[in-house]
């Protein structure tokens, strides 16, 4: 029961959508598939809240136990509640929500990722070494693309945008297509294994 029911549910919903792709089954394709799509969006919405519920559990525990820097957990929970409750009551066009989003959330999120600019500069200096012929090719290609994509490249040599375009149209596209075809086969096999209950890792181990 514990094993079979989830596997059967996965199989039935998976097979239904696969069949629907290749043949339109009368009535089922019209009604059931559309119904299942509506359902999946709603279940996914519950899953979205589930993630927050997990975070809530962890940080409530930290506060109650008075763990190190528990006040950070308190800040986290207050932020979470305000960010959820305000738009729930007054929609996302409310002034308080807009204020929090624009001034706090957006700046934090944006800066978090802007840090990567510094790390990539540091890595370019420290790690991008021409140790092999392969690395040399990689380096040349990177430099041409970097110069080709910005206005200054064309100022230095009009060939940069041209050769950067050539490099990307021919070699990047070819390499990426090869990888894409291979990865697609992999994705299809993995999905089929999941639908047929061979791969059950998404159940969280067993």
């Amino acid at each position: 029961m514990r094993r079979e029911v989830p596997i059967v549910v996965t199989f039935v919903s998976g097979i239904l959508f696969l069949l629907d792709y290749f043949i339109k089954i009368p009535y089922v394709s019209e009604n059931v598939v559309g119904q299942f799509l509506d359902w999946a969006i709603i279940v996914a919405a519950f899953a979205l809240i589930l993630g927050a519920a997990n975070i809530f559990r962890i940080h409530i525990y930290k506060i109650v136990k008075g763990k190190k820097e528990w006040w950070n957990s308190l800040i986290l929970l207050v932020a979470m509640l305000v960010m959820a409750v305000v738009p729930i009551i007054w929609t996302q066009q409310n002034a308080v929500y807009t204020f929090l989003f624009k001034n706090i959330f957006e700046n934090l999120n944006g800066t978090m990722f802007a840090l990567l600019a510094f790390y990539i500069a540091s890595a370019a200096y420290r790690a991008f070494r021409v140790r092999t012929k392969e690395a040399a090719v990689l380096l040349v290609s990177a430099v041409v693309v970097m110069l080709g994509a910005t206005p200054i490249g064309a100022k230095i040599w009009s060939g940069f945008p041209e050769y950067s375009g050539w490099l990307q149209t021919i070699f990047t596209t070819a390499g990426m297509r090869g990888i894409m075809i291979g990865a697609s086969l992999g994705a299809i096999v993995t999905a089929l294994r999941t639908i047929f209950g061979i791969d059950r890792s998404y159940f969280g181990g067993q």
């Binding site: 549910v9 998976g14 959508f17 792709y21 119904q35 359902w39 999946a40 709603i42 279940v43 996914a44 519950f46 899953a47 979205l48 809240i49 993630g51 975070i55 559990r57 950070n72 800040i75 986290l76 932020a79 979470m80 960010m83 729930i88 929090l100 624009k102 001034n103 706090i104 959330f105 957006e106 700046n107 934090l108 999120n109 800066t111 978090m112 802007a114 990567l116 392969e134 090719v137 290609s141 990177a142 693309v145 994509a149 050769y163 490099l167 149209t169 070699f171 070819a174 390499g175 990426m176 297509r177 090869g178 894409m180 291979g182 697609s184 994705a187 299809i188 999941t194 998404y202 159940f203």
Partner: protein, 209 residues
């Protein structure tokens, strides 16, 4: 109020940038604040979807609209997801999870098969050999060799010797060019993010732009 907001934004920005010097309490607080807000946003959109797509059509349909009784099923399935917090009933959460995974896997196959698999093969086969794609007449030949070479590079069913070895070698060089270009593109993206942040600090906060 706008000035206050910009000052708060600048403080948040600087708190995160302070990580560049070393890990510090300001960064940790900003990090917690960020996770809290992101999770709050998740709750809001989850709730909003449940109300608009399930609760209202089921319990408060517009006058003249039929009540959608079937929507009771996803509401129950959604609640069942939370049995994962129970000790004994944990397995029940696998039923709604199985539903999502089943639909998701099937849609993944449907999507990949058309555009990312068949269409890519067909587009390669349809290319005329002697054809300028960007700059030279031999572009198409280089391109096709590149695709096939890359595929051979990942072909492990037989020992790579003879023609397979040549193919794999072509594939390797093509991928090096591709990864170099990918690195260049990554630098470009990262710099844009920093430009955005500095634009905010200098322009909106300090008003010196």
């Amino acid at each position: 109020m706008e000035t206050v907001g910009i000052w708060i934004g600048a403080l948040c920005t600087l708190a995160i940038f302070s990580f560049l010097l070393r890990e510090n309490p300001f960064f940790r607080t900003a990090e917690h604040l960020f996770i809290g807000l992101a999770a709050g946003l998740g709750i809001f959109y989850g709730y909003q979807t449940i109300v608009s797509n399930a609760w209202t059509p089921l319990f408060n349909p517009d006058p003249g609209e039929a009540r959608k009784w079937f929507l009771i099923v996803p509401l129950v399935l959604g609640v069942l997801l939370y049995t994962r917090f129970l000790k004994k009933g944990k397995w029940i959460s696998r039923i709604p999870l199985g539903f999502l995974v089943g639909v998701g896997s099937a849609l993944a196959i449907r999507g990949v098969i058309g555009a990312s698999f068949m269409s890519q093969i067909v587009a390669t086969m349809e290319l005329p050999l002697w054809h300028t794609m960007a700059k030279f007449k031999i572009d198409a030949i280089l391109f096709i060799l590149g695709v096939i070479g890359t595929l051979i590079y990942f072909f492990f069913s037989r020992e790579q010797k003879g023609p397979l070895k040549v193919g794999a070698s072509i594939g390797k060089w093509v991928m090096m060019l591709a990864f170099g270009a990918a690195f260049g593109n990554t630098v470009m993206a990262r710099m844009s993010l920093l430009v955005g942040r500095i634009y905010f600090l200098l322009g909106e906060w300090l008003h010196i732009l």
